[in-house]
Every structure is written in C-alpha cells, then in structure tokens.
Symmetry: D2
Subunit: 190 residues, 4 copies
C-alpha cells in the first residue's frame, strides 16, 4: 500500500533529522564545513530544504560522483545523468509505494526522456537528485528530475512513464496512484 | 578540412558498395537472408537506402546489441541509447570534418538531449543508428538521431550542441561549419 | 547442434575472405593503409592469421574503441576490457554451438576472472578480441582472452566458467561439449 | 601528507560512531532490523567490526546495488564488481593520503586484476566493499578487495598497482608510502 510506503519514508527522514540534531547543526558539519546529508537515504521536503533544495521538491537522495562516471573531458559524462535519474525513479516508485498503488503486476515503461545540462560536475562532488510527478494523463504521467550541488541546480530532466498491463495494453492510472501523485507531489491532471 | 572529410566518407562508402556487389546483391546476403551492411563503418545515403533507412538520413553506422546493454527487463536499457547516440555523434563530427570546420580548438558541448522510445530492442539485434543536423542558430545547432532495425525506427533522439571557445565563451558557427550542415544534411537557419 | 554452429562460422569466415580478395589484398586496404577486417563478424584462424593474430587463436572479433570507453586518464578504462571479454564470450558460446552442446537449459556461470594490462589503448583504435578454451575439469572450463592491436597483444584475460543445472547443482561437461573444446581449441583435460 | 589523511579518516569514523550511539545501538536500527551503516563514508576497523566485517579489514565503504547494475540474468553483473573496486581504490588512495605519500605527480597504474565470485547479489542489496594492501615490491603493491553482505563475503578481488613517474618509468615506492601500507594494513615486503 502507498500508505505503508509513506510511513517508511517518514521513519527514515526522522532518522536523518536526529542524526543532524546530534551534531548540533542543520545538515552541516561545522568541523569540516561539509554537508552531512546521509547518502542513498530517501530525503523528504524538510530534509531537502535544510540543505538548500528549493520548493516544491519533496523527494531526493544524496550520492557522490564516482571515478568511472567521469569521461575524457574530465566531467560527469552526459549519459550518466540518465542513469542517475533511472536509479532515483526506481527508488521513488518503491519508497512511495507506487508499485502497490498501480494494481497487480504493473509495468512502468519509459516513453520519452529529456535532459537539460546547465553546469558541468566533477569527480568526488556530492549531489542530491530530486524527483516529483507533475502531470497525469489517462494512462501515463510526467516526472521531473533535478541535480542539486550546494543548493544550485546543475541538470534537470523529465520523463513520460506509461503504465501497461501484463499483455502490454495500456492501463488507466488507478485512483490510488493518482491520489499518491496528488498528495505527495501536487501533480495535476493534464 | 571538411572537404577531406567528405572524400574520406565517400571512399569508405565505395568500399561498402564493392563488397555488396561482390556478393551479387544490394546489401543482402541471400545465403543467410541477413543484411551484410558492414558494421562500424560510415554509411552514406545510398548505402542507407539499400538497407531500408528512409530519406533524408544520409549518415549512419550499423552495430549490434551486446549482452551488457540488456537490463533486468530483458531489453536494451533506456540509458544505452544515449550512449549509442554519443558514439555516433563523435563519429559524425569526425567523419564530416566538422572539428576542422569549427575553427581552432573547438569545444562542442551538449546542452540538451531528448529520446523517444518507440519499440523495445533485444539481445543480438543488428541496428543502424543515423544522425543529421536539422537546424542552426547563432552559436548552436540541433541534431536528430534514430535507430533503425529492419527498416523500422525503434527510437529517435535529438540534441542541441553549443560551440564554445577555449575560455568557454560562445563561438558563432563559422561559415565553413554552416556550409557543411547545409550541404550534407539540408540544415536550415532557425 | 554444435555442428551447425561450426557451419555457420565457416560461412561467415568465407564471406570475409571473398571481401578481402575483392580488394586484391589480404585483409589490408592499400588505398587507406587500413586493415579492412570486418567488424563484429566472427573471424576464424585463417582470417586472424592474415591480420597478424598469432597461433593458436582461432576465434575472434574486431571492434572499435568508443568515446564512452575512455576514462579521465584518456585511455580505455580498466573495467571496459571485462565488458569486452563478456561480449566475446557470449558470441563464442553462441557461434560455436556451445549452448546446444551443454545439454538442456544450461547455465554458464563465471567463477573467476583475471586481467593483465600490458599496454594502454586510445580512442578510435581498432582492436581484435580473441577467445579460446584451454582447459577442462569435471564441471568447469578455463577460457583465455586477448586484445590485439596491429598484431600486438595489449591485454590478456582468463575466466573459469562453471556449468550448472537449472537447480544450480553442478553439471558434468557433456561429451559433445568436451569434443567441441578439443576440436576447435585444442583444450586439454586438467 | 599521509598523516592528514589519517586524521581525516578518523574524524569521519567518529561521526559514524556518534550517529550509531545516538540510536542506542551498534550499527543496527532496531525499528527496521536494518543496518544503519552510513553510505559512501569511509569506515574504519571498529565501524567494520560492528557490522560483521571480519579482521583484518580496516577500510571500507557501504553502498547499495542500483537497477542499472543488474543484468539480464537478474543479478549484479560480473563486470560491475570491477567498477566497485575501482571506486573503492580511488577513495582508499585519497582517504589514506597515499597520493601525497607517493611523491610528486604520482601515476598509479593497474597492472593486473582478479575477481572470484562466490555468491550472486540482487537489486537493492546493501553491501560493504573493503580494501587493504597486503604486499609491497620495489615499484608495485598488491591490494585485496572483498564485498560483504550481512557479514558474508560474496566476492573477492585483487589488483597489482604499479607506481610510475611522469615519463612512465617505474618509481620505487617511497618510504612514506611503505610506512602507510605497513601501519594501516600490515602490508609485508614480498
């Protein structure tokens, strides 16, 4: 159920806040002048705000650039962002309980993607990828993505996801799924 | 020089045609009912037409899906197409002499990309990726990409490429570069 | 059947030789001083010898380094070679009919791999990856791999592959499989 | 300086311990029965012991399997482990101050790698990769790697790394570097 997913996310976000409080800071480690946002852990709206991720993003995850993501031009390769947003999308669908909201054996198929590169990113950088669903149609929805580094967006993306039945016919978005997108992300019917 | 690039491409395309003629066929191996388009070799408009790639595409390259490009859903992963088009773009810029046409030490920076997935692709499939430049602006140009399998498009893409100077300031597209895009691909000023 | 696999490979190798003959050369294009070995097409012992791949390699495939395979150190990334040998292994198993020789629903599981990097490789390089089976044990076999550029080995590798039943218990190598390894590659019982 | 590197690592490890203490547990979250080892943060010997990583490993980092690391066989692809150990090696060299210990403009070149796959790993799994240097020779050293999941090793690896000068001639390991390997990892002269 989507509700269970929500509980799960809240519990993790609380973990994060207690960790930050233990350091007497809001997401910043004063000894190192480094953000101590936990990596690979779902971050909710409050957690995101405290590290400079602006409204209305309410789901994100911090990660770090690896050596293998740098290309011959010495920045994060263009292709890597699409991999990042894929990882984030799978986590988002899981953590928000969207697989359960979608009915039995749902198939989420990516129909289109777009990326807009605003600034290059280098090795070792800590970044926060964020995702939200902005629009719903009968059998599909649109997600937006962004990469934040030190509170600044370096790349944005979007994807249209189609919901299919086991036989690959299109499936109308169930009410539970629509409600999840509206409640969590303020998604609107297109 | 761009002209040299053109010569180079023509020589390779002739190679391809003589190979096909040697088999008494036009790009099809009758013993195997398999297309014998050479892999990883630039294909011009004639070569593309003979294997079912429609007008106006005039630059492409055949390749084959590898095991490592298949994901847990048993089809070519969404991200892989962006890698394919990157490879093709680098070859296109090289084979058409565009690095030379762009002036001293050009920097080609990808500003945006978009992908539209029309059909899934499986392991071992032979495909032809094609590229052309459709639009030019003052300091940037738009390329289109497509993946053909057995004469049918399975994915399309586009990218806006910005031309920069060594100091990362924008560089106006030189006349030689514009002429290359117009002559080869019928690009128009946007 | 393995026999069919062998026929298939021979037909393709003949294609290659007739292409080379049509150019009045042995695998070398005199106009371009470039090897015209066909890409992504299985090459047999004769084809390999004519492009400088030494005895006893008898199965290989030519390919070209892509931009995305180059890392921040401006050479082919260490990890990429393991991907190359994976691709080659899958092709080898398929082209030599080894899946058929292994009995119903075989599972080939990689147990160990090793790589020895002898020289770095750069963008755009044409290379030939070769594979052969050198040793057999009761339920596993050892393959060797090498990457040739201009007749010189730049990297070697090896892998131990275990044959499993559907329930993941070990399966003794069937006689047909042993015979394939002996006949094609001169593999010995360890 | 290597010493600075050591300080840095200790500070981070302390962060981790205070986070764990704040939860009234030793690296385990009782509400979720989930290990709360921080991701992508260097872990020292104490931190590793508390989550079941056995002696003598004293450097590691927790991470999580991504969708894109799963292949058509529905487990973490063989090649991915080599990427993981590359990422870990770069972090190890950085966090232990080894780049500084190696003298001016050091080049660390991977000469050989080996991997031994003991158990397959699935999507979403949390794992801890560990690294240590076991042997030194005149101009090279041997590292070992392992992947732990729930206190059990699923894969091991090793690599021989050669130290080069700017002109690619071999460089003898400086005393500072030897001392780092001996002090931190108990490395022995081979």
């Amino acid at each position: 159920m989507g509700y269970m997913g929500r509980q799960r996310l809240r519990a993790r976000a609380l973990d994060w806040r207690s960790q930050a409080r233990d350091h007497g800071l809001q997401g910043r480690d004063h000894r190192h002048s480094r953000i101590v946002t936990p990596f690979l852990t779902p971050l909710d709206a409050d957690a995101l705000r405290s590290v400079g991720v602006s409204d209305p993003w309410s789901y994100g995850m911090a990660d770090r650039v690896r050596f293998g993501e740098i290309d011959a031009l010495n920045h994060v390769n263009n292709v890597v962002y699409l991999r990042w947003y894929e990882t984030l999308r799978v986590n988002y669908l899981h953590d928000y309980g969207i697989y359960e909201d979608a009915g039995p054996d749902p198939k989420f198929v990516v129909k289109t993607v777009g990326l807009d590169y605003k600034a290059e990113v280098h090795r070792g950088a800590n970044y926060i990828n964020v995702a939200r669903t902005t629009q719903m149609r009968n059998t599909s929805f649109t997600m937006h993505y962004a990469t934040f580094i030190d509170g600044r967006i370096t790349t944005t993306g979007d994807a249209v996801i189609v919901l299919l039945n086991a036989d690959n016919s299109k499936r109308a978005l169930p009410d539970a799924l629509r409600q999840t997108f509206i409640t969590r992300d303020g998604a609107v019917q297109a």
